[in-house]
């Protein structure tokens, strides 16, 4: 074992009821140093090809990042990964909060969960000790109750409880995992995988100090203190703290890139009611944080009027405000807060849930769904009560909710007609609330993202459009030299995209939040490198970290190729190639020709086959993972 990691993984075989420990040596950890990289490696090594995502052969990996748990702002995250029941491909979702740090304090780098428990179970981890416990009495119960019961049973009020609610139990294909009731591994249906394994919860408590693991604890600690001070001194982190992610709504609306009514328009007439000022006035109660993070961008909300919303579940982020708001044609923040609370209570991904509701609304307006399917609900754009009720129906699989719980892609195939045109997804994963027609690099990311449409696979074009901007300057140490217009889709854009995708992937591997490192926020590239050096003692550079990120992306890509994915899956919904109907970019659509040409350029830059999108053996060799080429017969 080296510095910065424990060198051991907890293996949990739910079928056999067995727990064991597996070592990771220094060489392996250097190649896959936590989070996304370690998870992708473990998935490929443990999941057989063509495994049923909801069957016992699927494997759920939970892996904290290399820096997770260090006293270093935004280094809070851990990855949940498995074959996705929503996409059939590489499934991955990161969460911040406290659970990842606690797992690291307990002395584990990751958990690998295999098989399926015969009866509902939960897992208890207290430092080295781990046990599978009967969880039948927890099944069907609300996460708030489950957290209290589990903490009582393990005799520790401070135990961190990771769990699924009704959505995960009912295997809603976009079910999330929550911990502390307010942090979520939201995307790609990891909650459904947990539900399919009859695993209700994982309680973790650790007593080790993560800083003691570091090669140079003093340096890491000093760096952490320096960054904590910088939060208020840097415009981008200051903004996140003061306004939170809901601070995005007004500007995106003004720019014509606020997804509205299922991505038909880029501006919403009710946007003024969805701004951060409205949020503060109507629902906000407090700011919250993740482990050791000075940014404090999380929100807590309460509503005591028509919709009763408890502060226990955390407040809606921008994605949720726009998803249940403008994208559903709704300007009622209280209803949005209620939908957010229900997604927390039932552990549903707010992005996929809201997008699926918007899809259903468009289907309803086109007669593909009728009131007889919705239990009498008029599921139209702008109907806030119907939107809130639709979330309930999905979690409980009632009426049309049973079909919608399969995800918009599957639902569209059953509904027929124009429904497929209304399903805004890539590879089955619904689009986040960022409009590619105004920032085409985001569209490139949606298309090639191995997990499906993910807004965090790269950095958004406007941040890199002006060479004088703080964000552009922050990206220069990565080798970004050309500032490019947000709507330019070109080989130059693909060059920038490839670098930034690797940087984002490295962040997911290190356990850093997207709101930490430059170019998005306040932590400079050199400080990220310094933190990795202090934690591990490795003589790394920014280029080495980019390589780590690229390696992780290639492993995820190999996973998909093994499951039969190809270039045809790296695409975008047709609607994005049509003109926007309203807002500052009305009439603007993406060019399919430019998109396909840039995709070919990107594959070439990444060393991937332009026809199949598979990494070449040579590229995998260069990345030190030739073994992965054998899995897909790469030439």
């Amino acid at each position: 074992m080296g510095y910065g990691f424990w060198g051991r993984i907890l293996r949990v075989d739910l079928t056999g009821g067995k727990i064991s420990e597996e070592e990771i040596d220094d060489t392996t950890y250097r190649l896959y140093p936590g989070g996304k990289a370690l998870a992708a490696y473990l998935l490929l090594k443990n999941i057989p090809p063509a495994a049923d995502p909801l069957g016992p052969e699927n494997v759920l990996v939970l892996a904290e990042g290399l820096l997770t748990g260090a006293p270093f702002s935004t280094a809070t995250r851990f990855t949940a990964a498995a074959r996705s029941p929503l996409t059939g491909g590489y499934g991955e979702s990161e969460a911040g909060g406290f659970w990842g740090a606690e797992l690291k304090m307990a002395g584990w780098d990751a958990i690998v969960i295999t098989g399926r428990s015969e009866r509902p179970a939960y897992l208890r981890i207290t430092d080295d000790a781990a046990e599978i416990r009967d969880g039948a009495h927890l099944w069907g119960r609300d996460p708030e109750e489950v957290q209290a019961v589990v903490r009582e049973e393990v005799g520790d009020k401070l135990a961190r409880v990771l769990q699924i609610g009704l959505g995960g139990e009912n295997r809603v294909r976009f079910a999330a995992i929550t911990h502390d009731l307010r942090h979520y591994n939201g995307r790609t249906g990891m909650g459904a995988v947990m539900g399919s394994k009859n695993l209700k919860a994982i309680s973790v408590r650790g007593s080790r100090k993560v800083l003691d693991l570091a090669c140079e604890p003093q340096s890491l600690s000093e760096l952490g203190r320096k960054l904590a001070k910088q939060v208020k001194e840097h415009p981008q982190s200051w903004d996140l703290q003061v306004k939170g992610t809901p601070g995005l709504t007004r500007g995106l609306n003004a720019g014509g890139i606020l997804p509205t009514r299922n991505f038909r328009s880029g501006a919403f007439e009710g946007a003024e009611d969805l701004t951060w000022e409205a949020y503060e006035k109507e629902i906000f109660t407090a700011r919250r944080s993740c482990y050791a993070c000075a940014v404090r961008c999380k929100r807590e909300v309460r509503v005591a009027d028509r919709y009763q919303v408890s502060e226990a579940w955390g407040g809606p982020e921008y994605e949720t405000v726009a998803g249940f708001g403008s994208d559903c044609g709704i300007n009622d923040l209280q209803a949005i807060a209620k939908a957010n609370e229900l997604c927390g209570r039932y552990t549903l991904d707010t992005i996929s849930t809201s997008s699926t509701v918007a899809f259903a609304m468009e289907c309803f307006e086109h007669g593909l769904i009728g009131a007889e399917d919705t239990g009498g609900l008029e599921l139209r754009f702008g109907n806030a009560d119907a939107m809130v009720r639709a979330v309930e129906m999905i979690a409980r699989r009632e009426h049309i909710g049973d079909l919608l719980a399969e995800g918009s892609r599957r639902a569209a195939a059953v509904l027929g007609g124009n429904a497929a045109h209304f399903a805004m997804h890539v590879k089955g994963l619904d689009l986040p609330m960022h409009e590619p027609r105004g920032k085409v690099g985001v569209g490139l990311g949606y298309a090639v993202g191995e997990a499906g449409a993910d807004h965090l696979v790269a950095y958004h074009d406007p941040a890199l459009a002006n060479p004088e901007s703080v964000s552009f300057k922050g990206a220069m140490p990565l080798g970004i030299t050309e500032a490019l217009p947000p709507r330019e889709l070109s080989r130059r854009k693909a060059v920038n995209y490839a670098v930034l995708e690797s940087w984002s992937s490295a962040g997911k591997t290190l356990g850093m939040c997207y709101f930490g490192p430059a170019p998005r926020s306040f932590i400079q590239v050199e400080d990220v490198v310094a933190a990795v050096r202090a934690a591990t003692g490795w003589d790394v550079t920014a280029q080495d970290l980019l390589r780590v990120g690229e390696r992780a992306t290639n492993l995820a890509r190999v996973f998909n190729i093994r499951e039969g994915f190809s270039r045809r899956d790296d695409t975008l919904p047709d609607r994005l190639f049509q003109p926007l109907e309203g807002g500052a970019l009305a009439g603007v659509g993406m060019s399919r020709e430019e998109f396909e040409r840039t995709l070919t350029d990107l594959y070439e830059i990444k060393g991937w086959d332009p026809v199949t999108s598979a990494p070449t053996r040579r590229r995998l060799q260069e990345l030190g993972i030739e073994w992965a080429a054998d899995l897909i017969g790469a030439g």
């Binding site: 720019g255 014509g256 002006n466 998005r520």
Partner: protein, 94 residues
């Protein structure tokens, strides 16, 4: 004139304000006295008056419409909004 500093642009205001009222004549006079500006008042002139770094302004809207910040003449009743690269978009240029 009502001015909005969107996203992290309000960090550059000494009072960290997101909304402020400006007197158009004051802005013009201040610009002229510093030999920075003469003639009609534009959003770019307002940005200079407020000390907003040019590199941080990605989108400017006047009365809800995205505009070219150098090409639009403002009137005292206008509402001017400035947005940074993150959480904005891009201004049209002429």
């Amino acid at each position: 004139m009502r001015v909005h500093l969107g996203g992290h642009l309000s960090w550059y205001d000494p009072g960290k304000r997101a909304w402020l009222e400006l007197d158009a004549r004051t802005v013009l006079e201040a610009g002229a006295s510093q030999d920075r500006q003469s003639g009609p008042l534009t959003p770019a002139g307002v940005a200079r008056h407020l000390g907003l770094p040019r590199g941080e302004i990605a989108l400017v809207a006047v009365n809800g419409r995205a505009v070219d910040p150098d090409a639009v003449q403002l009137t005292p009743d206008d509402r001017v909004e400035f947005y940074p690269p993150i959480g904005g978009g891009e201004s049209p240029s002429e």
